[in-house]
């Protein structure tokens, strides 16, 4: 549980704004075939799994992602297997209990497909898959807010990486696997339930972090504008 959550449980639930930076590290694990990919995933570290599902959002990448995790993208573009790519693409880390379950689901999809297709057992990828892991450095921005109304003003000034930390990374940190904003708002009882519902509707997978910031900011601002009326 992060510090913000701990603080939020205290009498004054202040939202402590944090920021982060991420750096990629080579694992020296590489795959040229689906079978090699599968075998590496079986023994892959949790931070590497995390990287290929989430953390790559913070590193150089093109804004418009066709597939939401690196495995699905590679299977589609380097092995040309659309069926498996689609199956892998729906795997959502927020719907499983932990990264081990995510690993299990990944392996299940790949094993089923390997059983189905003899061709995929030996088909060589056009580009090698490079397994990466990452280190994330989290730091305090010396900013905190006590009331959700203040948050509406703060969000447009948050960095993209701060949005990553509070809206995406939080899903790995918090027990209920949601973003820090909803988690915090829940401490205020039902007063902010409509806003929580709005935030629940934001799909974080296909937006850039800057677009995500805009969506979250708009939901907060709309809520308080309606509140005033």
């Amino acid at each position: 549980m992060n510090e913000m959550n701990n603080q939020a449980k205290a009498k004054s639930p202040r939202f402590v704004l944090k920021d982060c930076a991420l750096i990629a590290i080579a694992t020296h694990k590489r795959a040229d075939t689906l079978k090699e990919l599968r075998d590496h995933i079986e023994n892959l570290s949790a931070d590497s799994l995390y990287y290929h599902f989430w953390a790559n959002l913070l590193l150089p990448h093109f804004e418009e992602r066709e597939y939401i995790n690196d495995f699905a993208g590679w299977v589609r573009h380097s092995l040309a297997d659309t069926k498996l790519a689609e199956q892998l693409a729906v795997l959502d880390p927020t719907t499983v209990n932990d990264l081990e379950e995510l690993r299990y689901r990944l392996l299940e999809c790949i094993d089923d497909r390997l059983d189905e297709s003899e061709y995929l057992r030996w088909s060589h990828a056009t580009q090698r898959f490079e397994f990466i892991r990452s280190q994330i450095v989290v730091f305090d921005t010396q900013t905190a807010v006590s009331h959700p109304r203040e948050m509406a003003e703060l969000i447009p000034r948050m960095s993209a990486s701060s949005i990553f930390y509070h809206f995406i990374d939080s899903r790995r940190r918090t027990q209920d696997k949601i973003d820090d904003f909803r988690h915090w708002l829940a401490f205020f009882g039902d007063a902010y339930q409509p806003l929580i519902n709005q935030l629940t509707g934001i799909d974080p997978y296909f937006s850039t972090l800057v677009e995500l910031r805009q969506q979250v900011a708009t939901d907060f601002q709309k809520f308080f504008a309606e509140d005033v009326r």
Binding site: A21, A24, P60, E63, I132
Partner: protein, 414 residues
């Protein structure tokens, strides 16, 4: 007074600079030394020229030292450079011993600075053995490899490897370039400096003057490849692509511009082949530019409608980054770091043949609004990912990570 950080904030955003300042806070007062082998010329010097003063503005005691050596030393390091990239080159024991002597002499000069530093970044193989002669070092040493070391010539790599192994970490530009080492191999792609002569905005007068100097027709479409005359850059393939596309776009102009080839026999041979392939077509301009022609290169990239980098083998491909930064779609070879930058139908097209390049040239000149759309996307893509500020951020992250632990999550308090 405007600081360097203010200047970068104007190009990137105030958020980016604020983020750097916060990330640098735990490194305030730390001493960082970068060591390479040249103060001017080459991509490493260009980056350090700005990275070091920017770090100083963030409160880090950062400095840049350059080793010195004689022609024998550089003959040895040039061979090492080529061997790391896979060329089967044997280096004599005498040259390798001289390499060690020069490193030892430089270590004698720099020892007190290097041993006292909190972080030492050693760039490329030339100064790699300094570590051997700084046995009382107290800080973290990082080897920054700017080239593809994935398939080195083992005979030479064995010699370099025994020094690299002693480092606390290494940095490579792409995961594909990494060599297996017993310490963390960080991935930090290179970047361009938006405020350098090669990338800064130019006035229309300066563009017009370059256009007039080279006899480029302002009313005809123009494609360009700005790259060394090197076989791996496939300039002949570019001429072939141009010739195929010209059947459909008769007014098409091609500019092939690259550095001088006087000291490079292979380069001269390629240049002759390019001239032969171009024949007497007046719409093909083959330009040999001096190494400091940064503003001319900048102008030529800006004058082109489409930039090509039709490499068959490539490192990161910073010429692609430069072209995207100037709002140009890039038709690039499907290799190396070009794949990371050229996204089909978004920032340009990846191609494998002259025919493929010609097809995309025709497409873009038919769908001219795409040239503008892709150009805008490419520029923003570079702004977000490949400017110097991103590289600095990753250097800071690496230093904080090395300072704390090898765990995947480092929570800084307060």
């Amino acid at each position: 007074m405007t600081t360097l950080l203010d200047s970068y904030a104007a190009v990137t955003s105030r958020d980016v600079v604020r983020h750097l300042q916060q990330l640098a806070e735990p490194l305030r007062g730390k001493t960082v030394v970068h060591v390479n082998s040249t103060r001017v010329g080459g991509g490493v010097a260009e980056i350090l020229d700005k990275l070091v003063p920017l770090s100083r503005e963030l409160g880090i005691d950062s400095r840049w030292e350059v080793i010195t050596g004689d022609s024998e030393f550089y003959q040895c390091t040039k061979s090492m450079h080529n061997a790391i990239q896979g060329n089967r080159i044997t280096i004599s024991d005498a040259l390798l011993n001289h390499f060690l002597e020069v490193n030892e002499q430089n270590a004698n000069q720099l020892r007190s600075i290097l041993e006292a530093a909190d972080f030492v970044f050693i760039h490329d193989p030339q100064p790699v053995a300094l570590l051997k002669y700084c046995s009382s070092r107290k800080g973290k040493w990082i080897w920054r490899c700017h080239i593809d070391a994935s398939h080195p010539y083992r005979g030479v790599w064995r010699f370099i490897d025994r020094f690299v192994r002693g480092y606390d970490a290494s940095i490579f530009s792409l995961p594909q370039f990494v060599q297996m080492l017993p310490h963390p191999a960080y991935i930090i792609p290179p970047s361009i400096d938006p405020l350098s002569d090669k990338n800064i905005d130019l006035t229309q007068d300066e563009l017009d003057s370059v256009r007039a100097r080279f006899g480029i027709n302002p009313d005809a479409p123009m494609i360009a490849q700005i790259s060394r005359f090197d076989r791996f850059k496939d300039p002949i393939g570019v001429v072939e692509a141009y010739q195929l596309a010209k059947k459909f776009i008769p007014a098409l102009q091609l500019v092939l511009a690259g550095g001088g080839a006087s000291d490079d026999p292979e380069g001269e041979a390629v240049l002759s082949e390019v001239r032969y392939a171009a024949g007497d077509d007046p719409n093909i301009k083959i330009l040999l530019l001096p190494p400091d022609a940064h503003r001319t290169i900048n102008a030529l990239q800006r004058l082109a409608d489409i930039v090509l980098q039709k490499s068959t083998k490539e490192g990161f491909g910073l010429t692609v980054t430069e072209a995207l930064w100037k709002g140009k779609p890039v038709i690039g070879g499907d290799t190396g770091g070009i794949r990371l930058q050229v996204i089909n139908f978004h920032t340009g097209f990846l191609v494998n043949t002259p025919e493929g390049a010609a097809l995309r040239i025709r497409y873009l000149f038919k769908q001219t609004q795409k040239i503008q759309e892709m150009g805008l996307k490419g520029k923003e893509f570079v702004r977000e990912n490949f400017l110097l500020t991103r590289q600095l951020r990753e250097h800071l992250t690496l230093m904080v990570a090395l300072q704390h632990s090898a765990t995947d999550r480092i929570e800084l308090s307060g």
